[in-house]
Amino acid sequence: MKQAAEGTEQDTSKPVASIGRRWGMVVDLDRCTGCQACVVACHAENNIALNLEDVVLQQRAINWIRIERYWEGEYPNVKARFLPMFCQHCNNAPCEPVCPVYATYHNQEGLNVQVYNRCIGTRYCANNCPYHARFFNFWERDLDDTHREYLNPEVTVRTKGIMEKCTFCVQRIRRSEWERRQADEELQEGDVQPACVQACPTDTLVFGNLEDENSRVAQLAENKRHYRVMENLGTDTNVIYLKKVDPHASETAPAHAGTAADSGGNSA
């Protein structure tokens, strides 16, 4: 908000003019224990379909956030490394220009937005997303009355034939905005917490406004351990990962997509 004046200047490198707010997340991989609390919280908050056994076996499970597990080192010195992966809300998103109907576009808050009503299900965006962060509803939801009781009323239940993905809990952003507006105030740091951030027991996930340089997320993003996944593709993500390079990591461990370009790099 401090930089609102600067934000009004058109930055031609960005797809849309910013309004001094660019939501982003920092994921400190050195803190992540792979407990999957974020996954559960996300499912509960966002009315995600239950991934029952048959759906998983069909390779059609929907997880807006998933924990990727990598093994590091050679036996017996094997370490499990975890990497929470979700929509990276790229500023230069590969999924956006391929949608013929603007069902996914970039809004002024730096969010990559999915408009369910507009989606026609070409699935081109999902093909083009290098992070595999987009999910398709292959089946209609089978909701009985008990099920309906624990749906979140603020989140649309997606029908079949629609793409969906992490929204950074946009409904929480909107609710916080509304609450502040009732008091005639601006949105403050810490007002908005997506479900995954709220559930994270180790403070791995930090959410906030990357354009506000006093925010915790902006300061963490400058940490020397920072890197972005698949930065070589030029997607300019709003999600920044922190990882200390382990000099003893095995050479043979699978590298996560050539992200060693910047200072932190990743060794996993």
Binding site: Q59, R60, V101, I120, F136, F138, K160, P254
Partner: protein, 455 residues
Amino acid sequence: MHERPRLTPIQINRDLLRSVLETPLVFYVLLLLLMGLVGLGVIAATLMVSYGLGVTGLNHPVFWGFFIINFVFWVGISHAGTMISAILRLSAAEWRRPVVRAAEVMTVFSLLTAALFVVLHTGRPWRTLYWAFPYDFVRGIWPDVRSPLVWDPSAIFTYLTGSILFVYAALIPDLALARDQTTGWRRAVYGVLCLGWRGNARQWKLLNATGLLLSALILPVFVSVHSIVSWDFGMSLVPGWHVHIFAPYFVVGAVLSGVAAVIALMAVMRSLFRLHDYIRPEHFDMIGRLLIVVALAWAYFYFIDVIFALLSNEEAEYQVMKLRLSPPYLYLFLLMITCNVFLPVPIWMFRKFRRNIGIMVWTAIVVNIGMWLERFLIIIPTLQRRHPDAFAWGDYSASLVEITLVIFSFANVALLLLLFSKIFPVIPIWEEKEGHIWKREFRIGKLRLPAIVRE
């Protein structure tokens, strides 16, 4: 063209209108069979629309499957019409005459089928109207012109419109002939359709100008359509698809499969409608020569594609190609390359085989199997290894619904062609007669030299 037997105009009329005026039993048998297959397809599509795309084999990494393969395949087949008629018309190749209409009509029907598969692919077909036909001007939501999926319908509908005009313009004199040979309601229908054709000199002049003009105008569309279809892949960020040679590569592949399909179509027409005097071995000979060039050009592009993936030192590209070139896809790859080049090209090299219609039909079918596999190998393995991490790798096997719909597409094109042949003459009668008028025979000593003399 040299050995064409002498036929009187009356006999030509009778032979070529026979398929329209008479209905043999085999027509009803074929009609029932094809309608049955199309009916199965309709049931499968209904199932898919009501239960969702879950009934297909599509899954998380492999979002595009048989429908897109089939779409690309049928757009490829549709290239035959313009290749045969426009290019050969402009280059005044005499042997084109009996083939042009069947090829053009196949263009129209395969394009319609291809368009149907894009619509089916989205799972909720009615929603697709939003983007193919941006009718809702008031709301102000327009399609995103940056998306290759918006270029696609533009290209396809342009090509479809052009092809329909092309077929129709060349049909007018034949419709007039049909009007003169029929009675009752059929006469009335043909009378309306032939737009008052009287066959005077001015009308013939206009018709010839139209043919040349449409041929010249449709050629750029012909090149652009499959280029644009290839950009569905080329414009993406997917390793294995993001390849710069895709546009010419796809166009050449399309011509290969399309022209091969014309061979099969010609042979079927020849035996079904007893057109032995019109579709002759020398036509198969000529198309065989054309196909040698096209198949070798295709092989060159495929080679470049593989070499670039293997030598570009790009890990993701390499993983995709490695999957494509290792079992089980290796077997498909070998089958494809055998079907497309190693088997048919040596056969086409020999005049004896090119004039053997049975062998030509088999090579045509083999080439189309190969070209279908080629699209399969471009789409499926690539999506399975779209991500350099093993974390998001997957596999794909088509469901019964998808297989049924693929069979449906073949039956659908065949059914439409059959119905067309019932309503309109499948060989352009006036073009055939024109060829006969221009035919001369010279005697040089004992040698009889057939030739074409044009004013």
